[in-house]
């Protein structure tokens, strides 16, 4: 079981290529780091891998087949801005249960307080919402997690708690994780191996 990108490339409209001919594989039970400077297309690549966007060339394969169009996607994405990833008109309880009915140990593992469940996203901090966003994707049906700068905006304690929860899930049931970050120290501490993304050649003048 693995997520594989074969020679993927992407550009917006007919603009310059963000990246081209990029290959990456994330297997079960491994944590892979994706490093790259700001603006080199890390987030775009993360969105392609999770099926939020289609690559302009190349293919994204899960277990040798294209990602499913409908139904639960085994590859889930947690993005940098949790407040955009939740419906501001929903209570946290509904947000959390949109993907699966969560086990209590997941809540405990992520230190989600029961009293947060009846609040709206605007009544929680970014770190608190991000715990829900991570919890939402840790369903048993999720095989690969793409963590796109998942903890960049958060304080050190929240960062540590979130990564510990992810690491535990990796060890327990072989979740595969792609850690997207521009911080080498974080990736060195977490990941088994690292892949670098470099921007495509400078656009033709």
């Amino acid at each position: 079981m693995s997520l594989e990108a074969r020679a993927v490339g992407f550009r917006y409209g007919s603009g310059p290529w963000v990246f081209r001919k990029f290959d990456i594989t994330v297997g079960a039970g491994e944590m892979v780091g994706l490093l790259g400077p700001s603006g080199c297309g890390k987030t775009t690549l993360a969105r392609l891998l999770a099926g939020h966007e289609d690559p302009r060339e190349g293919r994204v394969l899960f277990d040798g087949a294209a990602l499913p169009r409908a139904g639960y996607c085994p590859v889930q994405l947690v993005s940098q801005h949790p407040e955009h990833a939740v419906n501001p008109r929903w209570r946290m309880r509904d947000i959390m249960c949109e993907g699966w009915s969560m086990a209590e140990d997941t809540m405990e593992m992520l230190s989600i307080q029961p009293e947060w469940l009846d609040r709206y996203p605007s009544e929680l901090s970014g770190g608190e919402i991000q715990r829900f966003c991570v919890a939402r994707t840790l369903s048993p049906s999720t095989r690969i997690l793409i963590a796109d700068e998942m903890t960049t905006m958060l304080d050190a304690i929240t960062q540590a708690q979130l990564w510990r929860a992810v690491r535990e899930t990796v060890d327990q049931r072989g979740l595969g994780v792609l850690v997207v970050s521009h911080e080498r120290a974080l990736i060195d501490a977490l990941c088994d191996r690292t892949v670098a993304l470099e921007a495509a050649d400078a656009p033709e003048p």
Partner: protein, 292 residues
């Protein structure tokens, strides 16, 4: 630390002003309630004033406003206050029916344009442009005339001419929502289009829909009155404001100013009450102003 004494809390001045000072939200609520009350009074007057005041009384013809007949009487001795209240109630009923159907049409077409793909979007956008490019009143007269006039003609005319502006707003809202991250996440979590439409999109556009609906009422009422005034709307025996104003035109030159002034003012007041109600509802529902 005595140097800090002159500094006062920024809100201190406001707190000491008056105990009756209302917050912005309370004022908005109060204004909306007053506007709703004014509309309620019009409906109550239309329903409760007795028919006997509408009876022809040739002994009390053409009387100027007095305590017994605050709006005066017409050339048949009928009480103008009762006629105006009845006329406004008719206009209100027609306006509500027409505006509601028109708003639902806008919601359906706006959602269809934004969710059913490029061809549907192009078709609906073309229709919106087409309807917006012809002056309302001309189109309304043509449609009303084609459907044989009367209440039916006016309602169909208003329904068909008033949806495009609201449909355009709803289409734009839903297009923005479709690209939003939480909708994409919901889709990747395996949720169906129906779930996304009903649980994510509809609650988001509902405030726009409601405010659009309330703001459609005054338009619908004014246009009903206008079409009726011009003779393409309700038949002369219906108690409509447009009829009253059209008849009053014949008597203006004879100095009976009250025949047109009071019904006209009442119509304006009702339209304004709806405008205020709509604007304040928007302020209450909009998250950016809801807490002010």
């Amino acid at each position: 630390m005595n140097g800090a004494a002159p500094q006062t809390h920024p809100s201190a001045g406001r707190v000491s002003c008056s105990r009756l000072a209302l917050s912005g939200r309370q004022r908005t609520l109060l204004t909306a309630a007053l506007a709703a009350l004014a509309l309620g009074v019009i409906v109550a007057a239309g329903v409760l004033l007795p028919d006997t005041r509408l009876a022809t009384d040739l002994g009390a013809r053409n009387q100027a406003p007095s305590l017994a007949n605050p709006f005066g009487t017409d050339w048949l001795g009928r009480d103008m206050l009762t006629r105006t209240a009845r006329g406004l109630t008719t206009s209100l009923a027609l306006g509500m029916a027409a505006a509601s159907v028109s708003a639902l049409l806008a919601l359906a077409l706006g959602m269809a344009a934004a969710t059913l793909g490029k061809a549907a979007d192009a078709a609906v956008s073309w229709l919106i442009d087409l309807f917006l490019s012809v002056p309302h009143i001309v189109l309304l007269i043509l449609i009303s005339f084609a459907f044989g006039g009367g209440a039916r003609g006016v309602i169909i005319g208003i329904v068909l001419t008033h949806w495009p502006a609201l449909a355009r707003i709803i289409r734009a809202e839903i297009l923005a929502l479709r690209g939003s991250e939480f909708v994409r996440v919901s889709r990747r979590l395996g949720r169906s289009n129906l779930h996304i439409a009903t649980r994510h999109m509809f609650p988001h556009v509902f405030p726009q829909f409601l405010v659009g609906l309330i703001l459609l009422f005054p338009h619908a009422i004014l246009h009903e009155a206008a079409v009726t005034f011009l003779g393409f709307g309700l038949p002369p025996h219906e108690p409509a404001v447009g009829i009253i104003l059209a008849e009053a035109m014949m008597h203006l030159s004879t100095g009976r100013w009250w025949l047109a002034l009071f019904p006209g003012l009442a119509l304006l007041a009702m339209v304004r009450a709806f405008d205020i109600l709509g604007d304040n509802t928007r302020a209450l529902l909009d998250p950016r102003t809801a807490h002010e």
